[in-house]
Symmetry: C2
Subunit: 363 residues, 2 copies
Amino acid sequence: MNIADLDTPAVIIDLDVMERNLARAAAYCQQHQLRLRPHTKTHKIPAIAQQQLAHGASGITVAKLGEAEVMRAAGITDMLIAYPIVGESKLRRLAALVPQAHITVALDSEEAARGISKAAQESGGTISVLVEVDTGLGRCGLAIGPAVSDLCHQVQDLPGLCLAGIMTYQGHIMGDAHAREKLTGEENSRLAILLALLDKAHLSCQIISGGSTPNFFLSHQILGINEIRPGTYVFNDLNTVMAQAAQREDCAMSVLATVVSTAVPKQMVVDAGSKSLSTDRLATGQSGFGQVQGAPELVVTGLSEEHGQIDVSRSQRKFSVGDRVRIIPNHVCTAMNLHDEAYGVRGDTVECLWPIAGRGKVR
Amino acid sequence: MNIADLDTPAVIIDLDVMERNLARAAAYCQQHQLRLRPHTKTHKIPAIAQQQLAHGASGITVAKLGEAEVMRAAGITDMLIAYPIVGESKLRRLAALVPQAHITVALDSEEAARGISKAAQESGGTISVLVEVDTGLGRCGLAIGPAVSDLCHQVQDLPGLCLAGIMTYQGHIMGDAHAREKLTGEENSRLAILLALLDKAHLSCQIISGGSTPNFFLSHQILGINEIRPGTYVFNDLNTVMAQAAQREDCAMSVLATVVSTAVPKQMVVDAGSKSLSTDRLATGQSGFGQVQGAPELVVTGLSEEHGQIDVSRSQRKFSVGDRVRIIPNHVCTAMNLHDEAYGVRGDTVECLWPIAGRGKVR
């Protein structure tokens, strides 16, 4: 089957580009002796998770229990659920999962730890725990201080739990090369305090988890980190390109779309709107909701649910109703979550069709 | 079953509020002799579409062929596909649908009209057509001028097509009461030119379609419009509230969420992120991605895929991990599209579970 035979909008994965991204990441992690535990929320496709493991990943990361269940059903047996699991219904599902896989969970509260301890006891197994520490993003995680070592000790004392280490996330290290160097220096000062605090509390942490895709290839410069959880690197997206962490040619995922209207001057409308690309803005604050592959002057300037409005005033090409383009999204993870399936292609040949099995697993 | 028994995040529909919204809309349309053809993209649930028909709707509107197929499978037989249908695969599906339902399609190009004419001939039936005219939004639709009457005549001449009228959309009439009055005046001047142009070209249009939820109850003041296609009015959302077109108490849909972290001061994190609420901004440009129901001071200030960050600094209430809140989204249509099912409730009692059958029908 050829790309021309696909109906639109459709998620296209360029397999050559994806495989190059996976190989580059594996080589980097091997060189710097970093364990790679890729976040599969980006693709949500078990077959791609298995390719990541084949490239040397030490296990996978998921955001939600529902994603863990999908990945376990596909035969994957080592996963970090990088999210506090709270509530009876989820704890029952966690207990059911424990005998089938090595499960690590992140948390930042005694309430969450107590629930997960009960689930572990119910399962008859052990759940590994990473205590989440906020090193600057301000989302989840305890501030660096005695609360961290207190919660680590509580985890050690709770039945069924095994303290595996600490989870951080470097999502706040952004900007240009100079800004990042400065932010990495500040991050390392904070991490030095954290590591000293853990040492003083006699907490030996096997895992210090961190990383993010924009800073993937700077991970070895971040103090103490021995495991990283990037997600987006498998496909990359405009955010990765804008962060100068990848080239446009490294973007493996695009949304194939058809021009459905050219009635309004200087504009064409494609059939990929916010239901196909998501309304996520660029992390840099720049405007636009996507760019046509191979034509960065063609920016999606407006989005409604089913309409993508593309400014054609700077393009040499003349577009007609029925023409097709491939659009690289701002944020590939949220775009993937909007679709039920993805087509893997080499050149113009469609090689495979993958259900996006982890789509919509909000619970 | 009680709301307390539901796992989170979960879409909750307050049935009393929804039924009040439906009854109010029906009474208004009856009073002003406007045909109501609700856009079902908001809820994507056939059972709710059937309630709209029971409240006197003259048919339904859908955005995509996939939504039309879902609604037809549920027994609905009169629908407007308010979107240009382009491409062979879709035209084949359209042809298959024609013998089963009265289908009207909107379009703004001869290319689209020719394809749809072929589909009509293939089906052995007739497809009604609304020619889309841009009255100010600048998305799809021909500018008011000879191109409109030309396309209408082409539609009249193409086999299998029946020119039913004109489609407009008043999405650009926004702002406060004063701004809207001014914009409605300008809109009516444009519509007067359009109607004169149609009259001069001897085009008798049975349907002049228009409307939008924020301007729902102003529809009778918009010149010539005899059919309206609001979607959001069934549930309302923060955009409708900010447009002063509904009260917070008129918002029927909320996302039930659990507090999963309170580790960062002045903030709580809930398990409803952009994968549950969408990153759609408010049309007014105000910040925030949702508000806690009954507590408008609790705004979702930050969103990542699975994390909703809520500023609690102005709240009297003290929140703990495990507490639950209901969040009204900025834009209910895109939020609904992220979920597989919705719970209908009365008070705290769960009365029904609806699959969101039209979710993800991007094609």
